[in-house]
Amino acid sequence: MTADRNLPPRFALNWLEATAPRHLRESVMGDLEEEWRARVASGRVGADFFYVRHAAAIALRLGWFDLTHKQPQRDGDRRKGDGLMETLWNDARYGARMLSRTPGFAFVAILTLALGIGANTAIFSVVNALLIKPLALPDSERLVSVGGVDAKGRAQFISYPDFEDLRKQQKLFEGFTAFVPQSANLTGKAEPQRVRAGFVSDNFFSLINVAPMMGRGFNPGDDALSATPVCVLQFESWQQVFGGNPAIVGTSVVLNNMPYTVVGVLPRGFRFPFDEVDVWMPHHTWPVFKTGDNYLNRANPLVGPIGKLRPGVTLAEGQAELSTIAARLASQFPEAGEGRSMQSRLLQDSVVVNARDMILVLMGAVTFVLLIACANVANLMLARASARQTEIATRAALGAGRGRLVKQMLTEAALLWIAGGVLGLAFGYVGLQALLSSSPISLPGGVVPTLDFTVLLFTLALSAVTGVFFGAFSAFRFSRPNLTSTLKEGGRSGGDGPAKSRLGSALVVAQVALTLVMLAGSALMLRSFQKLTHVDVGFKTDNLLTLEYRLPANKYPDGAQQWEVHRKIVERVSALPGVVAASVIRAVPFGGNGSTTPFEIPGAPPFAKGDAPRVLMNFPDAHYFETMGIPLLRGRVLNEQDGPTTQPVVVINRLMAERYWPKEDPIGHSILFPDPKNPITATIVGVVGDVKHYSLGDPDRLQAYAFQAQQPYIFNSLVVRTQGDPMAMSNAVRSAVWSVDPEQPMWKIYTMDFMVNRSLGQRRFLMSLMTSYAALGLLLAAVGLYGVMAYSVSQRSREIGVRMALGAQGGDVMKLVLGRGVRLTSIGLVVGLFGSLALGSSVSSMLYGIKATDPVALAGAAGVLSLVALLASYIPARRATKANPVTVLHQG
């Protein structure tokens, strides 16, 4: 061979040599080298460049031609064909033929892979939408939500004066805006309607950086107390509520009984990622804001600000500034809460804070499913490889190189994972649609999981990783085919070395361990769920209809007027035929509303500062406890004699009575509610049972009820006990309310059973997903164990035959075979048990009434798994005992 400097670039030469079809290789390479040599005279660099360029072009053209046009079977005699592309093509065709010859294997392997990949794709789509993809807002990575924190670290809003000072004193933020979502009454149309309003500062739209599609956003000054009220419509509400009226800007609408001028409409697709909003209104027009002197009171938490960091400022730097300002305000105005502070987090993180744990647990679960699936397919391939030993050995004996065989195996594995990936993507799509339609994860506005490019890439990478996994497996399996022994034995018992059978065993152990972790996780959730559904909520939930409404404060400005409307509504609804009783309460249980308030007990030592307990305060009418079926334990309930002018009275719950008056009767004692403007000392007149207020998983809470007549308010919930189906009464109830005020909208018209059930939605969803993934894992693991046992039985058929011929009984053989299955399962169980204990803490926040180490759940999971494993090993063991020794030995 000539020296390198007399040759074209080596890599291009090799590339062409490797890819050109054999029958053309010599002439093609000669031609190109001839042309290269003719060009060397006028410049070596140019000639080399020429060679590389054309070598690549020719190789691609010939390779493609070969792949797409040739039919190697027919031309096989002429083309030996081991150019790269041709080989790949042949391998793929051969692999597909081999797979189609064992359709059962191909079907199970592809389905297994697709299930694993599909489950991952669906869950990852949600992870992607929630945790990876930035919010669909400009500069969303700089948006932060700010919350107040009291001395005990409890989250709360911050007061308006603190908010104003924060805006004035900060330097690292482009600005802060208030954001409060609350429903508003839209009137002046055929039927009064409830719209979802967002009350924001006048810099909101410039800070969020969204330009209205029509008209303008808020201008500086729009949020001033003296400003004429204006509002901006969300695109969808402009379309649906206002019929897409093109002349809407400049018109007046009546919201909360006050005229607002519509100044703009937002572009289609704009979503602010918290609650859905229909209409944007200035913060100062939020009814709570101007109630009394709410907005001037530094102790009154009113604002949940959203801020935007200046470019280049990190969250930590922004937080440091917030902490400094908050500390200064706390020491300057200690009466509004000593040691209070402010906490910021990225808007993106605060949006997903509720769903995050759940999503990550699910992601973990589907990863386990995929691992189990991979182990399964690997096991299948091991078993199949053993069955194919004769074929492989024959090919090797006929001159196929080891590399060639490995390549063939890799191609087959690649075919499997491509098919599995494509089918898995389809499964993922279906799974995602199912997830979204059941929709128990409350996804924040504008967050829509889709199978986008990132997800595709993820699925592709996942398939590739599994593909490499199998590829490595097959390559390992065929690295050194033992020709003589295999061919001599005629592939009868596939002389598998101990290393390979150890590998199969290790895979089974891993599968059992992974499955146990999943089963334990789902058993924990099942047990929690079961405990939750047996929780006593403290009242009768059946035949109960509820709804909410809010009176316009400017229509009914004083408390007596408000109470009069509420009282009339209850009166009219109670009079309806089919209604057993009706009542109002400020915040109905399971409705999501509710507030706590600090209290003191006169005569008792004061609570430690910063550690004062709060009581869940609610405001019912006189018949509420009776309507709900909440038992009166002591004293009396509130009654009509308790009025605005009489001594304030309060009813407390069992827990409060037992905690603060453990040895005496609380009736007649008083409680002080130390509102700085309007401190109230109320006399305890009764004790009622504990009620679950927010969810079935609520811890026992201190609860107190003050009579609504004594502290009326605009917002109320109506509860109606009906004789029959509560929903059937809804229209009659609405008409009854409208007979009091025809302009009064109502919303959240639900049955109590529905609301209680809904509060379980997320848990039910998590539990059912975990259980189905665990069941899938169990099924796959059972298939895996069965496969390994059946394989080992077939391998040992000669040994078993000899033993039986020498007099071994069926029972002995059974013991022999089952023993291995039991051993593998036991090891897997022990490993899995440690895994469950280690991973228990990750689900503990999702459990109710049990610990992550709950022995019943763990034992149950292990029991189910053992049973299934035993069955999976029993079937092949039984088959082994049924084998006729004569037949087996004849085969030998």
Partner: protein, 110 residues
């Protein structure tokens, strides 16, 4: 007379070039001949594919010979038009002639 698959235009050019070159017909001069006469550039890969396909159809035959030092000791694959190839060319020519009858090259009626 009627060949199973009519010749494509590029196939005709290749067959004609092989005919013109006679004993010197291997890929390098074939490409050169087409480029010189038609003033258009010919991709090497496409030429190899076409030569191979024409041989497969039975219009060309080929043999290896004449390995020289300039070619790194690699043989040239020489081509020769077989009678079937000549026939196919003739058919194409006749068909074109018949279609051109009465037309000027620029496409107007004579």
């Amino acid at each position: 007379m009627n060949p199973q698959t009519p010749l494509g235009e590029f196939e005709q050019l290749v067959l004609l070039a092989v005919m013109r070159l006679g004993a010197e017909a291997y890929a390098v001069p074939v490409r050169q001949e087409i480029e010189d006469r038609t003033s258009r550039s010919v991709a090497r890969g496409a030429l190899y594919v076409t030569l191979d396909r024409l041989e497969e159809k039975g219009y060309l035959k080929s043999w290896l010979a004449d390995a020289t030092a300039e070619r790194g000791g690699r043989a040239k694959r020489f081509y020769e038009v077989k009678p079937a190839g000549a026939k196919a060319l003739e058919y194409s020519w006749t068909a074109l002639q018949a279609m051109w009858q009465g037309l000027e090259p620029k496409g107007r009626r004579a």
